[in-house]
């Protein structure tokens, strides 16, 4: 069940999120993680990385991560699983979440000109 999912981040992602926190002024991991997921789902290509080493001490519960839009995020993940050719099983959904989340965080961190909250918001209009 999705409510039992606990999100763990890699140390790299943690470091990247720390950098993003400083630049955007956002304070919560979950807020930035939602941006990372959305950015990755936005990219129609299938992520190349299949395994993520979750070696950091950051743990986020699904409820904390998804907030009031848990159903929407879950539905979108299922939809992405199907699109990427996988049965939207709990495991598949969980894995898809982890992969896309880390890819999205990587995208965000890759934007070296992302220096403010404006820059973050502006991503939506690209």
């Amino acid at each position: 069940m999705p409510s039992e999912i606990t999100i763990r981040l890699s140390q790299t992602a943690k470091d990247q999120l720390g950098w993003l926190k400083r630049n955007t002024g956002l304070t919560q991991w979950n807020e930035l993680c939602r941006w990372g997921l959305a950015l990755s789902l936005h990219d129609p290509s299938t992520p190349l990385v299949r395994d993520i080493t979750t070696d950091s001490n950051v743990e986020i519960s699904w409820k904390t991560f998804a907030g009031p839009y848990g159903d929407v995020y879950l539905s979108l993940l299922k939809q992405r699983c199907a699109k990427d050719g996988e049965e939207p099983t709990d495991a598949a959904v969980s894995k898809t979440l982890l992969i896309h989340l880390h890819r999205g965080i990587g995208y965000l961190a890759g934007r070296q000109d992302l220096r403010s909250i404006q820059d973050l918001i502006a991503i939506t209009t690209e």
Binding site: A38, S75, I117
Partner: protein, 663 residues
């Protein structure tokens, strides 16, 4: 002065009316009047003086008696005192080149116990009331009493004149009054009086004082104007300098970025406001970013999800309907009446089955994500939220952009603001320069006002002055005139003083010569006195003998002293121009025969133009009469009646044809 006649009416010893014709001819200047002692010779001399001078006359018979008593007692004893006595003197003088004849009548009578005196003066036969009333003053102009006493003298007393002290008094009086020195003195005094009288009327003086006051005011006003003008110029100069200095400092201040320094607070405020706006926008943006906003990136995916959800919904519904429709279709066919042919029944069955299959096909999904039933609703709500968030985000981005831009701008400007320490000295200097300009401007304003006031005052005072001067032109002219009069009077007085002293010296020296010549002429011992000097200050006579030794007059004999006195009088008469009659009473009293002859031969015929000799038969005896005869114009003899104690005047002299008259 020429005595014409003397008339006596019951005066003293003379009873009735006695008349003496006193006129003389050229070369015959002598009127000889003979009389024994006590006959009234001296009374004649008194009569002449009394008629002329009244109470002031120095009559020999008066002594210390009061004038009124003297008058009363001089009425002839035999006469009626109520009718009184009278004296009349007729004489002529030359006034302004014209001979005028005066007739002076002095009469007096006893009214009760009082004496009433009356004086009448007739000039050229016409009674003159004014002169009659003011005779005492008038006679002083004709013949001053002081002078008269020198010419009407008693030979017995004349000797006293030889005394240096007395002589000095006589000489001084004579020089001053007879020789015109007094006239010069008088003239000087008159000039001084004139000078002092040269005063403006108090009105004119007031006007002139006002004018002088205004003139002083005018001068003061004009001095003030030029002083104020100088002050104004200086103030203007200081102001210009201060402004130039301020401009210079302002330029330096601007070069040093001083204006930015002054705007620093505003810039900082702008920066703070921009930063605040930016922060606000960012906070709002963060609010958005924390919410649903990331889902904006997945609009397409959400739309697909929506479709999927709808399809799953429809399939689910279709699956439920198909089961129900199968039993319902069977029930419907069963309900068909038996009259319906089987073919039709079969056809309907087929149709219904096809329709059911079609439905079943719709329920058959390619993909089933097992999405929740309420997702449609959630998605549509989300769609609206995202739409609103997008609009809001656009606004906020714009605001943040603007804020960031403004912040950058303000920061750039602030970067150009100079350091306060660097600018402080300039600020202080500029403030000082501004203060200086303000002070200088105030000074200029004040100086301008003062200058204008002084100008106005000057104009006013000048106008006042001009107006007053026009009005007071007359007093001004008069003042000028008075000044001139005073100056000339002063000059004339100085001249007169010099003239007076010169005149005095001249007279004194003339007198010295005349007296010495007279004395030497009369003296028997002609060599006794070599020279004679008169002191110009003290008028004393100093005699010197042949050896140059001074001779004390008291060492001279009585006769010699008498001769010296006569010489003095003669000298005076000569220097005075022999204008006055000489009356000599008892001329030869103390003299010896030689001196008598000298007087008769050398003095009497030359003593003056008119000489009245009052003599006894002892003085002018037969011998002397013969020697004198060629010079005699008239001779009278006074006959005294011892029984009636009266005297009458007869013609002739003893030893003449009229000698019979003599007693």
């Amino acid at each position: 002065m020429h005595l014409h006649s003397l008339t006596l009416q019951d005066f003293g010893a003379y009873q009735g009316r006695q008349h003496l014709d006193l006129r003389v001819k050229p070369k015959r200047p002598i009127i000889l009047i003979g009389g024994l002692n006590g006959c009234g010779k001296t009374t004649l001399l008194d009569a002449i003086q009394l008629v002329l001078y009244g109470p002031r006359a120095r009559c020999s018979g008066r002594g210390n008696r009061a004038y009124e008593t003297y008058l009363r007692e001089s009425i002839n004893r035999a006469a009626d005192s109520a009718k009184g006595a009278a004296l009349q003197l007729e004489f002529s003088i030359t006034v302004e080149g014209r001979s005028r004849t005066y007739e002076v009548d002095r009469t007096w009578a006893l009214i009760g116990k009082n004496v009433r005196e009356n004086l009448a003066v007739t000039i050229d036969g016409r009674y003159d009331a004014t002169i009659s009333e003011n005779w005492a003053e008038h006679v002083e102009e004709i013949l001053p009493l002081e002078v008269a006493s020198l010419f009407f003298f008693d030979g017995e007393k004349v000797e006293q004149l030889a005394d240096p002290e007395r002589a000095a008094g006589v000489i001084e009086a004579a020089v001053h009054s007879l020789l015109g020195v007094r006239a010069v003195e008088q003239l000087r005094t008159d000039l001084l009086v004139l000078q002092r009288r040269q005063r403006l009327s108090s009105e004119d003086r007031g006007a002139l004082e006002q004018l002088h006051g205004l003139k002083a005011q005018k001068r003061a006003a004009s001095e003030e104007v030029s002083a104020r003008e100088t002050e104004l110029d200086q103030a203007n100069k200081r102001h210009t300098e201060a402004e130039a200095e301020l401009k210079k400092i302002e330029r330096q201040f601007k070069r040093a970025g001083g204006h930015l320094f002054e705007e620093r607070l505003a810039l900082e405020a702008a920066k703070a406001a921009a930063a605040d706006r930016l922060a606000q926008a960012q906070k709002s943006l963060r609010g958005l970013a924390e919410g649903a906003f990331p889902l904006v990136l997945l609009r397409d995916q959400l739309a697909t999800l929506m479709e999927q959800t709808v399809q799953e919904q429809e399939a689910h519904e279709a699956r439920q309907v198909v089961g129900i429709l199968e039993s319902r279709d069977a029930w419907l066919i069963d309900q068909l009446p038996d009259s319906v042919p089987a073919a039709a029944r079969t056809a309907l069955k087929k149709k219904l089955t096809v329709e059911r299959k079609k439905r079943a096909a719709a329920a058959d999904l390619g993909l089933d994500l097992d999405l929740p039933d309420n997702l449609i609703q959630k998605l549509s709500t989300l769609d609206e939220i995202l739409r609103a968030d997008e609009a809001r985000a656009a606004e906020l981005l714009e605001a943040a952009d603007k804020g960031a831009h403004e912040l950058q701008q303000a920061e750039r400007q602030l970067a150009a603001v100079p350091d306060e320490r660097k600018i402080k000295d300039l600020i202080d200097a500029r403030q000082a320069a501004r203060d200086e300009v303000t002070v200088a401007r105030a000074a200029v304003e004040q100086a301008t006002q003062l200058f204008a006031e002084a100008k106005a005052r000057q104009a006013r005072v000048t106008a006042d002055f001009e107006r007053t001067r026009e009005k007071q032109a007359l007093p001004l002219v008069r003042e000028e005139e008075l000044k001139r009069v005073a100056a000339y009077a002063e000059k004339a007085r100085a001249t007169l003083e010099r003239f007076g002293s010169a005149l005095l010296r001249k007279h004194i020296s003339s007198l010295q010569v005349a007296v010495l010549i007279s004395f030497q002429t009369l003296m028997r011992k002609s060599g006794l006195i070599k020279s004679l000097r008169i002191d110009t200050d003290k008028f004393t006579i100093a005699l010197t003998d042949q050896d140059g030794e001074p001779v004390d007059p008291s060492r001279l004999s009585a006769g010699e002293r008498q001769l010296l006195a006569v010489s003095l009088l003669w000298g005076l008469a000569k220097v005075a121009g022999n204008r006055l009659p000489t009356v000599i009473d008892t001329p030869l009293g103390r003299l010896d025969s030689r001196h008598r002859e000298h007087l008769v031969d050398r003095y009497f015929p030359y003593a003056g133009r008119q000489v009245l000799l009052l003599s006894t038969d002892e003085e002018i005896d037969e011998n002397l009469l013969n020697r004198l005869r060629p010079s005699i114009a008239q001779s009278y003899v006074l006959a005294h009646d011892d029984t009636t104690f009266t005297t009458r005047v007869g013609k002739g002299y003893w030893w003449t044809e009229g000698a019979l008259h003599a007693v």
